[in-house]
Every structure is written in C-alpha cells, then in structure tokens.
C-alpha cells in the first residue's frame, strides 16, 4: 500500500512549483495561472498542427505548407486570426444568453482540467489534490452540459440531434472511463495523480491494466467525440452537430476545447498507465517533463492515426459497444484488480 505521506517529493511540495520554492503565495498563484494558460494555448495548437500534417501525409498529401514559410508551422495561428476577424452571428431564433455562454461552458472545464495534471516531478503540476483523479474525471464531463446548451440554444434540429447524441455518448463512455480509472486508483492506492505516477516506479500500470488501458483510450476517444466516435458532430449527417450555428471566435473555442481535451486526456492516460514522468531505466538523463511530453505526443499521434484510418461508427453500434462490451469488461477489470490487490 502506497500512501501519499510515504512519498517525500509529494508531501513537501506545497510551495514548490516547476522545481522552485516560492514563499509568496500570490506570486505562486499568478505563476500557476499563467502556466496553465500558456500550456492551454500552446499544447492544443501543437496537437492541431500535428493533426493537420499527419492526417495529410497519411492521405498522401502535404497539408499546410504556406503559412509561416516553413512547412506551414503558423497555420493554426493564422486560423486563429481569421476566426477572430469573422462575423459573430447569433441566429435570430436562438436563446441568446445560453447561446453565448455555451462555448465558455465547454472551454472552462477544459482549462480547469490542466490544473491537476502533473507533467514532471518536483512540482511540475499546478495543484496536487488528494482527489486529483476524481477531479479530472468529474471536470471533464462538465463539457457535455455546454454541448447540450449549445445544441438547444441554437434552435436548429441538426444542433439538437448532435447535442443529444453527444449527451448519450458521454453518459455511455463516462462509465468505462471512470471504472478503468478506478481500477488504477485501486492498484496505486491513491487518487492523487502525482501519487499514481510515483506508484509506478517499478512497473507501468499499462502491463497489469492492459484491458483498462484499452478501455480508457477508447472511452476517451468517445469522450472527445473524436473519429471513429464523432457521431455528435458527424459532418456528413448532421452538418456539425452542436457547433453548426457557431461562427468566428465561439466556434474556435469549441475547437480549442476539443484539442485541449486531446492533450488533457492523453496526459491523464500517460499518468494513469504509462508511468507519467518515469522514464525507461537506462535513459535517466532525460528530464521527467520531456518523458511526459514524449509519451503524450505518442498517444496524440495514435489518436490522430485512428482518425485517419477508421470510418465513423453508427450511433446504435456506439451505444451497443459501450453498454454491452466495455462496461462489463471494466467491471470485471475492477473485480480482478481487487482480487489481486487483496491476494498479493
């Protein structure tokens, strides 16, 4: 049994941020907020650009090549500038207040998620909560309310269908996600995310929890409405789901939340299963945060790879997969984890 107080690096880490000890709490708070915002605004852009390029090359194309001269590296910045310039249209039949606030309801939880995610040892996280895993999984499911609000307020049937689909999908996939995460928490003996990473010192949890890892990645794909689980925004059937009526910067917020979600859930999967900042035993000179980022990059690549490869599932296939297969497997996984935990 690992307990939080048994790990010295975590126990003393309340004033430590990014490896430095801060005595002034306000400076510390400001720095932490700035760090979250900077990471939130850059990492999704990196993933977005990688998606442009990887998707293109997987389809024998080149992707963006012009913006910023060198292989279109500034494409997403240019996109952002374009989104800001666009006309901000609110449909006349829309429920205006809800319509305006919905993108924020999707965006804010995506930012808050980064508060608990640890990138490296010695305070490379903003807050080390005792209930970190619980917080992360709870906050990530708030976005569905924003989605429903957006779909309902748009006064558009495609938006509404998309929102309802999104709600059904998130309810269905929240369960296997939480159950898979619960098994990890049982094995680690803590809900604190840095604590879970520390618990993987000897071996990564992906090995004992291989089914859990599969469930977690699949469920987070569905959670993010990423292909092949993108029925809520299925552009060939329902235009763009809950985002149909959104333009300009509000639309950009939805996209930003989606890519931030990829980063966040990849970090979460890395923390829970792939040993977080723990490197391979022979390569000790690489600092922890780089290990995390490399693993997150690999996972994000995998998510993009899946998008390039698989067609979208049908809505009923999606529900069937969650309720008939993934949730029972997740329950059995918890049961087995519990038995092993007690026996060994």
């Amino acid at each position: 049994m690992t307990h939080l107080s048994m790990i010295p690096a975590i126990a003393e880490s309340h004033n430590v941020f990014l490896g430095f000890d801060f005595s002034n709490p306000w400076v510390l708070l400001g720095l932490k907020l700035a760090a979250v915002m900077v990471f939130f605004l850059t990492a999704p852009l990196g993933v977005g650009y990688a998606e442009h390029k990887i998707l293109a090359h997987m389809q024998a194309r080149l992707g963006p090549m012009e913006a910023g001269r060198f292989h279109g590296w500034a494409q997403l910045i240019a996109d952002g500038v374009k989104f800001i310039q666009k006309e901000d249209i609110v449909p006349s039949a829309a429920d205006k207040a809800v319509f305006v606030i919905a993108p924020a309801m999707v965006l804010v939880p995506a930012i808050m998620l980064f508060v608990v995610l640890p990138l490296g040892p010695n305070g490379f996280w903003v807050e080390n909560m005792d209930l970190g895993l619980f917080f992360a999984l709870a906050i990530s499911s708030i976005s569905v309310i924003g989605m429903l609000a957006a779909g309902w307020a748009s006064a558009n049937k495609f938006s509404l269908i998309g929102a309802i689909r999104g709600a059904a999908q998130l309810i269905a996939y929240e369960l296997p996600l939480v159950l898979a995460g619960a098994a990890v928490a049982m094995q680690a003996g803590t809900l604190s995310l840095p604590g879970i990473v520390e618990a993987q010192q000897n071996y990564w949890f992906v090995f004992p929890q291989i089914f859990g890892f599969g469930l977690f990645v699949t469920a987070s794909l569905a959670e993010l409405s990423r292909p092949p689980f993108d029925m809520p925004i299925a552009d060939s059937e329902i235009i763009f789901g809950h985002m149909t009526e959104y333009t300009g910067i509000k639309f950009a917020f939805f996209l930003l939340a989606e890519y931030a979600g990829i980063v966040a859930l990849s970090i979460l999967a890395v923390v829970l299963y792939l040993g977080g900042w723990q490197g391979l035993p022979f390569i000790n000179f690489i600092p922890g945060p780089l290990w995390t980022l490399a693993k997150v990059g690999a996972l994000a690549f995998f998510i993009i790879w899946l998008r390039a490869t698989y067609p979208r599932l049908r809505e009923d296939q999606l529900q069937k997969m969650a309720w008939k297969y993934m949730i029972p497997i997740a329950l059995v996984n918890i049961l087995l984890t519990g038995i092993f935990k007690v026996v060994f």
Partner: protein
C-alpha cells in the same frame, strides 16, 4: 425455363470474379477465427495509413513548381496558323461565338503556265475571346485541317476582361505547349486514324503524289501533335479519306472534288484518266469544259472502283 437453364453451359468465371472469390475465401477464414477476426481488419487499416505516411506525398505545389499535366490536358485553345484555310467552321460551330476571323483573298499564280490563276483565302486575324469561351472544344473537333489544338498551357489569367481576347501571335505561341499524345495502353485497340495512315503509307508510289494533287491547303497538313505519323502528306490525306470511302456516289463526288488523290491512292493505282464517254456527254449538255473534265474524272474513278 428451368430445363433450358440446365442445358446451358456453365459460364467460365472471369478473372475478376476469380479474384473476388479468392478474397472472400480469405476473409471467411479470418472471420472464422473469432478473436483475430476483427482485429486483423483493424490492424490492416492502421498499417495502410502508416505506410502511406512514410511514402512521399503526391502533391505538386503548383505556384512553386510546374504541375505535371497529362499531354491531353485541355488548358487553352491554340492555333497553328499555317494550317488554317479560313473555312470558318470553328467560328460558325462555336456555341458562344467567341472566335473572330478576318481574311482577304489573294490571287495565286497558276502552277502550270497558261492555267487560270487561283484565289486563296489569306488569314488576317484569328482571335478567341476566352472570357466567352466555355472550353467545349467544338472548334478543335470540327477543324478539318488540324489548325486548332488543345494546349496544356493554363496560366493566362488577366486582370482586365478585355485582355482575355487573345490574338494570333499568342494563340500560335501556345501551340508550342502541345505535347505528343501518350502511347496507347498495352493491349488497347489501335487508334483508327493511325491505322488508316498506315494503309495510306502502304499504298506506295501513289501516296507520294497525293499531297501535290490533293490541293491540300498551303501544301502542308502537318500536325504538330502527331509526330509519329509517316509524313505530313499522309496525315493530311487520311483525314479526308473516310468520306470518300463510305461512298454513296453523291458523297464520293464531294470527296473526289475535295481530295481526289487520296481516294485514288487508297483504292486504285495509277493516275486518274478522263472517262471519254462522260466527258463528251457533259460537254454536249452545255457544261463548261472544267466541270465536264471533273465529272469525267469522277466517273472514271467510280468505274474503276466498280471493276476492282
């Protein structure tokens, strides 16, 4: 019906059907193995996208590099001025009326001393208004003398719509962009025209005389696109042969008047003589000597064709 069906011979499966059957068998085998069944397909899909990613992209970055266009690309219509006889067919067939042609007539001294001087149309202006043109290609299709071509050139946008009227020098310059047609696929049927050219070429000595006698405009019916053709004359004459060949006599007349030599070269050997009987009959009917002689020549050709 059922009995008849039994009597029918079993149809031999085509190659494609055989392949499909084999694929189905493989898929069945994979599907039978319950665990790897779906996993096999999923992994195969992933491997295909990953393989594609490691290969070079096929994109040609157009403004930075010249795109590799197929030889028959329909970019713009080019004019080979020497081939134009001012027959006005293109201009009349154009659905948009976007081809402007001006010409004047000139007297050409006769070939044999003492003969009547000939008049010939001289091209003064040939312009295409590409702001009207809808790129249907009918003009290229109808041109009987291979004066109009599809050129792969496509970079001729203008900032003023008036500048889209392109005159002869520009149109002629675009001919330089025309590429020779690609070779036929293996096992494809030979091009019908190419086949005809070969026949004309085989006819031997008569062919050599053909271009001179055919009165082909400007003497050269060269097609820049058809470099493989046996010679300029052969190409020119082959164009006009089919009409004569399909002859009801009335059509034969037109063909003979237009290009009698090729028709002759195709079917007969030796020079065309005058059918004395017809000649006298036509003269007696009060026709001018020139017409009588033409009719007599035609009659001779028809007669000889009937004989052999």
């Amino acid at each position: 019906m059922a009995i008849e069906k039994k009597e029918l011979e079993p149809v031999q499966p085509t190659r494609k059907e055989q392949m499909l059957a084999r694929f189905k068998e493989i898929e069945k085998k994979i599907a039978e193995k319950k665990v790897i069944g779906p996993a096999y397909g999923l992994a195969k899909g992933l491997s295909i996208t990953l393989k594609t990613m490691t290969r070079r992209a096929v994109t040609q970055q157009y403004p930075h590099e010249v795109p590799d266009l197929p030889p028959r690309t329909r970019g713009v219509i080019a004019l080979k001025e020497e081939n134009c006889t001012v027959c006005m067919l293109c201009s009349r067939e154009c659905p948009d009326w976007c081809i402007y042609i001006d010409s004047h007539k000139e007297q050409v001294p006769p070939k044999t001393p003492g003969a009547r001087p000939r008049t010939r149309n001289m091209l003064d202006r040939f312009a295409i208004d590409f702001s009207l043109c809808m790129y249907c290609g009918i003009c290229v299709e109808v041109c009987p003398f291979d004066a109009l071509f599809w050129s792969p050139h496509f970079e001729y946008s203008e900032t003023d719509i008036n500048n889209l009227i392109h005159e002869m020098p520009t149109l002629a310059e675009w001919v330089n962009h025309v590429k020779p047609p690609p070779p036929l696929d293996e096992g494809a049927q030979p091009e019908p025209e190419a086949d005809k050219e070969a026949k004309v070429f085989e006819a031997g000595g008569a062919v050599a005389a053909a271009p001179a006698a055919s009165g082909a405009p400007a003497g050269t019916a060269t097609t820049p696109a058809r470099e493989a053709a046996p010679g300029p004359a052969a190409a020119g004459s082959a164009e006009s042969t089919p009409a004569g060949e399909a002859s009801a006599p009335a059509e034969a007349e037109a063909a003979a008047a237009k290009a009698e030599a090729p028709a002759e070269a195709k079917h007969d050997e030796g020079p065309v003589e005058i059918d004395e009987e017809t000649y006298q009959a036509e003269l007696a009917a009060g026709k001018p000597e020139r017409v009588a002689r033409a009719m007599a020549k035609k009659a001779f050709v028809i007669k000889r064709r009937k004989q052999g």
